[in-house]
């Protein structure tokens, strides 16, 4: 994939100068904005349409048209659109994806259009992840955290008191997993076929950052904080034998099957899976979301938010920013996150959603986990995607299969970054 991107970048150098077309008609009449949306769930698609319809009804001078696109291949689509001068006015993407475009100067600075009250409303860590060189380059719309889903019956059968309270510790999780591992059942199922995203996101609870510095000077840091979680998983899998081994090689979604089948007592998943569990779990399956996990450094998790940005070449940056401001109002954010099963990045929208959904499907715990989301240094590491795919994921897989030890893992993660950063 990276080779393709490099090839495309090389090609762009030769033709980018010819890409400067006018494209603007200068017609009278209402301003027309295109909004490339990546919403993928039926409810979210419907909610997006509702919000846009409401905007169009109340803003006759600025009409927004939704261009529905898919997540897969959107990077290639955007890079071509940006370079050919035909990118949509409003762009839906994730922070980790849009930051490189912002660094390359394709995305407008939205700081002047971001009211102070709104800035204060956004979870600080999430706002940091969309701030490049002091400029806010996107409004966050949805975030996810990793949470523990538990089969309440299996926990009760094992005599475990189901944790409550604002957080639970990783040590508690380990103890519960050990206690519920019996009679052919395992305490935990964790789909770790692509473990990097989970490990990097959950490292802040152990004081891990993975990346330090800025721009080209960004370096990878593999210390105790970064190694703690992989080592804990390794210990649970091979010392405690409390993780169902097959799940270590499965995707997150695949690891739900043994959870539904009563083969594992708990599973760690993206918070959005709550909606799927509510829909797909067998009838009578009694489940709960356990409190957010906390490590020695607290319950923090890093998250790459879904975002809305404005194309810098748009002839109507101000109107596009106004539309985004409308789209990210408390009411609209609560509605879109409810439809997508995700967490609003603003305090007010989380409160509004919490008031609406209450404790149903673990929403209360999931929403409370949103306040612990912190900035994600990997969002600003230009080579993160390449490092993740070619270095980190294979190294973690070898480690979880006990092909290499902790020292070998650390050195692969470190040396791999240095190799691709040369």
């Amino acid at each position: 994939m990276k080779i393709r991107h490099a090839a495309l970048a090389a090609c762009l150098l030769g033709v980018v100068l010819t890409a400067c077309g006018s494209g603007e008609s200068g017609d009278s009449g209402p301003v027309k904005l295109t909004f490339q949306s990546l919403s993928d769930q039926p409810g979210a698609i419907e909610q997006t349409k509702k919000t846009v319809d409401e905007w169009n009804r109340t803003h006759p001078d600025t009409q927004v048209e939704i261009v529905q696109a898919g997540w897969d291949g959107v990077y290639d689509k955007l890079i071509t659109q940006f370079n050919a001068g035909s990118a949509p006015d409003v762009i839906h993407y994730e922070a980790a994806g849009i930051v490189p475009f912002a660094k390359d100067g394709y995305v407008a600075d939205l700081t002047p259009y971001l009211p102070e009250a709104k800035r204060a409303d956004v979870t600080k860590g999430v706002l940091d992840s969309v701030t490049v060189d002091g400029q806010v380059i996107a409004y966050p719309t949805e975030v996810q955290s990793y949470v523990v889903f538990a089969n309440k019956a299996l926990l009760q059968q094992a005599g475990v008191t189901i944790p409550t309270g604002p957080t639970m510790t990783w040590d508690q999780l380990r103890e519960i997993a050990k206690a519920t591992t019996k009679d052919g059942k395992f305490g935990l199922g964790w789909g770790l076929s692509s473990p990097t995203a989970s490990f990097v996101a959950m490292a802040p609870a152990f004081g891990g950052k993975y990346f330090e510095g800025t721009g080209d000077a960004m370096s990878v840091s593999i210390g105790e904080g970064e190694m703690a979680l992989p080592q804990l998983v390794n210990a649970m899998a091979y010392e405690d034998k409390s993780i169902l081994p097959v799940t270590l090689t499965q995707s997150g979604t695949k690891a739900l099957a043994p959870f539904y089948g009563g083969q594992v007592a708990m599973t760690i998943q993206g918070s959005y899976q709550a909606a799927n569990i509510a829909k797909d779990a067998p009838q009578g399956f009694d489940w709960a979301v356990l409190p957010p996990l906390a490590g020695p450094a607290g319950p923090a998790q890093a998250s790459s938010a879904q975002t809305l940005s404005v194309n810098k070449d748009s002839a109507h940056v101000e109107q596009a920013a106004a539309f985004i401001d409308f789209f990210t109002s408390t009411e609209n954010l609560a509605a879109i996150n409810e439809a997508d099963g995700l967490i609003p990045p603003t305090n007010s929208a989380r409160e509004a959603l919490a008031a609406k959904v209450g404790t149903k499907n673990g929403w209360d715990v999931i929403l409370s986990s949103g306040q612990h989301l912190t900035s994600a240094p990997y969002v600003f590491a230009d080579k993160y995607a390449q490092w993740k795919d070619t270095v980190a994921t294979p190294a973690y897989q070898q480690f979880l299969a006990q092909k290499i030890d902790a020292a070998g893992l650390a050195s692969q993660l470190r040396d791999g970054w240095q190799n691709i950063s040369r």
Binding site: R4, H5, A7, L8, C11, L12, V15, T18, A19, G21, T34, L38, D40, Q41, P42, I45, V67, Q68, A69, G70, W71, D72, G73, D76, K77, T80, Q81, N83, A84, S86, P88, E94, Q144, S251, G252, T253, L256, A257, P258, Y260, G261, Q263, G270, Y272, N276, K279, D280, A281, P282, Q306
Partner: protein, 275 residues
Amino acid sequence: MRALVRPAQYLALALYILFLGFPLLWLISASVKSSGELNSLTVSLLPEQWHWQNYSEALDRQGLVRSAGNSLGVALASTALVILIALPASYVLARLKGKVRLAGIGWILVSQVFPVVLIILPLFLILRTLGLTDSLVGLTLVHTTYMLPFALWMLQGYVAAIPVELEEAGAMDGATRLRVLRTIVFPLLAPGVVATAMFSFVSSWNEFFFALVLLQSPENYTLPITLNMFIGGEGKVSLGPLAAGAVLAAIPSIVFFTLLRRRLTGGLMAGAVKG
């Protein structure tokens, strides 16, 4: 012992067909399972409950029928254009001697070297100048351009396999050049044309990347783009509706192959007898 040979052959054939068809059977099975069953530990080919809603969801949700119509139009048009251009060109390429032929062959080979990601931006810019981005006509032209070299390569091989002596014999009997082509060359070339058409149709029907980048409006999306939208961020996949959509998407290809299959085998036999 001899009596067992035939049943054993049939058994082997049946197993082979089952092996080849299993992914399709599994796809059909997945298309009528609920998401709960698709995510359960119990694995079965037959669903516990037939969940036809996947089909209605696939059809309702993403404008699948419209996309199928777009794909069909683009695939048929680009296949026709490819054959129309490649047929005479391949004859010239196969029969011509000298540097022009070598240059032609070289161009075909070189054109296959570039990855699509390298040519998409220049293509995008050209089509934008022509006002053909986000247009099915533009996509048809791109598919034609992209498939033409391989189609030429395929067809010129078929032409080269026809003995030139047959054409000479026709000429000796007083047939004009056009008549030789019409009555001798083209009938023998029919299986090659059919095979090339099949290749072109399937290539265009399945093509994803050009369509992804060139098409902007959902009403212009082709089937691969629409099916891709069943796959969301964070690994979310609407598996049941996606499988249902994939089953529906396979139907036009199967119909096209069924229609052309007779021509393919008929042509092959004709070639065998005359050759």
